[in-house]
Amino acid sequence: MKLGFSAGDEAFRAECADWLNGQMAGEFKDIKGITTLTAKAERRREWEQQLGAHRWGCIGWPAAWGGRDATLAQQVIFAEEYARAGVPGRVNHIGIELAGPTILAFGTEAQKARFLPGIAAGNTIFCQGFSEPGAGSDLASVRTKGRLEEGEWVVNGQKIWTSLAHISDWIFVVTRTGEGSRGPKGLTFLMMPLNQPGIEVRGITQINGDAEFNETFFTDARCPADSLIGNVGDGWKIAMGLLAFERGVSTLGQQMGFRNELDGIIAAARANGAAGDPLIRQRIARAEIGLRLMRYGALRMLSNTDHARIDGAALTYKIQWASWRRNLGELAMDVLGQAGEVAEGAAYEWGMLPNLFLYSRADTIYGGTNQIQRNLIAERGLGMPREPRGDL
């Protein structure tokens, strides 16, 4: 067991920090410190391309596909330095962390050649088409239909909560291709270009006034026959495999964003005197402890190669960070007091801490609600009986 990084790793850290800080002080100065995923969309695409051009876009991928074959420690370091430098979140995080690894794991050689270079170069932005109005927590109930017709997949239906679909190029879609099938059987995983007449994207305005999520409508939308990942009917297996990638190294970069938010609360508490309140002090200490434990929890999961042992523990990560962040949002408002209720300007737009308070209500819902997470932990982590279905 070892926590320290080697001299070689520390040199790599300096290299990352130098490059990232240089970018944020130079050509991409205008996007430094942005905390939403939607602001300055065009510049964010250009930033993805800049990362790709310097091979910083997906360092954990194989070198043959535009990555650097980076070690675990190097990926941790890059994620940490990325956030530390104030670089905004990746608008192609779905492509880098979900679509790419899924294609690497389940795609054909032709699919790898077709998609991976574009994702790595920052030219192909992906979004995820899983949830539907009638298939939220119950993901296996998707009804969006896919059928093969004259060498093409034709898709009809509706997806929802498609984060960043309005700035994406491609969407991966779980479709029901088995006629009359129900539940996890009969699903197929398709890659579709978004820019086509059969697909319409409509923004959903959220409680913070921003619109990161969308409804995506498919009306005879089309993609070539070889656009499926895996085989017809493998959709559930692939979607579940993909969700496993979600607990990768990216969580460490996410934590650096949390660090910035907690530091913002600490600064606000010092400035307005809340730092002298013993109860606020306890809550800030708890938040600090929680954040540190998130980091070491992630390092523990990433360091452990014995998956049989660590998979149960990894199931606890989502609810842990989501609940922590929701509490942090409440702490932020308790520290700010009524000042947190008032916008800085004339628009309904919020600074980092009030926005954290509002946005964090989504954290405990998307990607599996806290209630679903508890079911998963109890069933898969602790071997409790599964919830019965009412319709199968």
Binding site: P278, R300, S303, G381, L382, P385
Partner: protein, 351 residues
């Protein structure tokens, strides 16, 4: 960076888990509870047959020369069985001697402590009167104090060794809620004591060791509460189905696991940070002690609730965990105290 056990650490874990599971049975622990609060045969076997009493003591001083990670593995295993052994005081005093004892003090005491021939306890006094090398003080809540042969007495910045049979020393045992680790009051009245060669180093080592052992014990205890409750959830049937199939039940189990996994990160982060001399070590220690003890108490409370009536009986072991958890929350600084130390590091001292 490799935040996972090495093969050697895995082997140690397997060995000590097996040892405590086999020997620290409910029957033996209850016999200890009815007596003086220690399973002497178990402690003797731990020191001699298992040879783990010096796990985190340097080889040159007769120990195994390993670190706090390995000590945490041992304490976690002992905590998992609520073993009635004086590990906490022993580890605190042994590591204090190694860090701040003179060569003569080390040579006099470490062999006896490591072989199990002498039992050590840590005693903290609020105030002390010192006159010509003789101490007068009262130290409350000394864990396993009534059966210690050697005390490490701390008061202010001073640290002394006092033998059980020294003139003017008296110990009064208390009926203690956690009968696996009874508390005692130590009183010295003009008692001859040997000051440790480097009291600051000795006390720093004693406290850090105590926090790690307490946190690791709590982790082991919390995991045992979850494991035993999971087993019960499978076998107990009500309304025609195992009670573990009810969502209200499953969600409480899940909440226990969420806290336990964080406590595991906390304990081994703190132990590893201390072994590596990391700047994070002080924060990690306060985090580990407060978080793990709170987690243990939460899990032990849930264990009683989720067992229903049987969990409230003397016959069931749930109360052993519950009482140990409560004791761990209060000893060596409660959760609020540790969190205020962290708040001080982040926010400066309270107004």
């Amino acid at each position: 960076m490799e935040f996972a056990f090495t093969e050697e650490q895995e082997m140690i874990a397997e060995t000590v888990n097996g040892f405590f599971a086999e020997h620290a049975t409910s029957e033996r622990t209850r016999a200890a509870m009815a007596g003086e609060g220690i399973d002497r045969a178990l402690w003797g076997a731990f020191c001699t047959e298992l040879g783990m009493a010096g796990v985190a003591v340097p080889e040159a001083l007769g120990g195994a020369g390993l670190g706090l990670v390995e000590l945490a593995i041992v304490a976690q295993a002992a905590g998992g069985q609520v073993a009635a052994v004086p590990l906490l005081g022993h580890a605190m005093v042994a590591r204090a001697l190694a860090a701040g004892g003179s060569a003569q003090q080390q040579a006099q005491w470490l062999p006896q402590l490591l072989s199990g021939a002498a039992i050590a306890a840590f005693a903290q006094a609020e105030t002390v009167t010192e006159a010509g090398g003789a101490l007068s003080l009262v130290a409350d809540f000394v864990a396993h104090g009534a059966l210690a042969d050697l005390f490490l007495v701390a008061a202010g910045k001073g640290a002394w060794l006092v033998e059980r049979n020294a003139a003017g020393l008296s110990v009064s045992a208390h009926v203690t809620m956690d009968q696996t680790r009874p508390l005692a009051t130590l009183a010295l009245a003009g008692t001859r004591a040997q000051e440790l060669a480097d009291p600051a180093a000795a006390l720093a080592a004693a406290r850090a060791t105590g926090w790690i052992v307490a946190a690791a014990e709590a982790l082991g205890g919390a995991q045992a509460c979850l494991d035993r409750t999971v087993a019960y959830a499978r076998e107990r049937v009500q309304f025609g189905r195992p009670i573990g199939s009810f969502q209200a039940y499953k969600h409480r189990l899940a909440d226990m696991m969420i806290e336990i996994e964080q406590a595991r990160s906390a304990v081994y982060w703190a132990a590893c940070a201390l072994d590596e001399g990391s700047d994070e070590a002080p924060l990690a220690l306060h985090a580990a002690k407060s978080f793990a003890a709170d987690t243990f108490f939460m899990c032990a409370g849930n264990m009683i609730q989720l067992h229903g009536g049987i969990g409230f009986t003397w016959e069931h072991d749930a109360h052993l965990f519950f009482k140990r958890a409560r004791a761990l929350q209060s000893m060596l600084g409660n959760g609020n105290w540790h969190r205020e130390r962290i708040a001080g590091m982040i926010l400066g001292d309270a107004a």
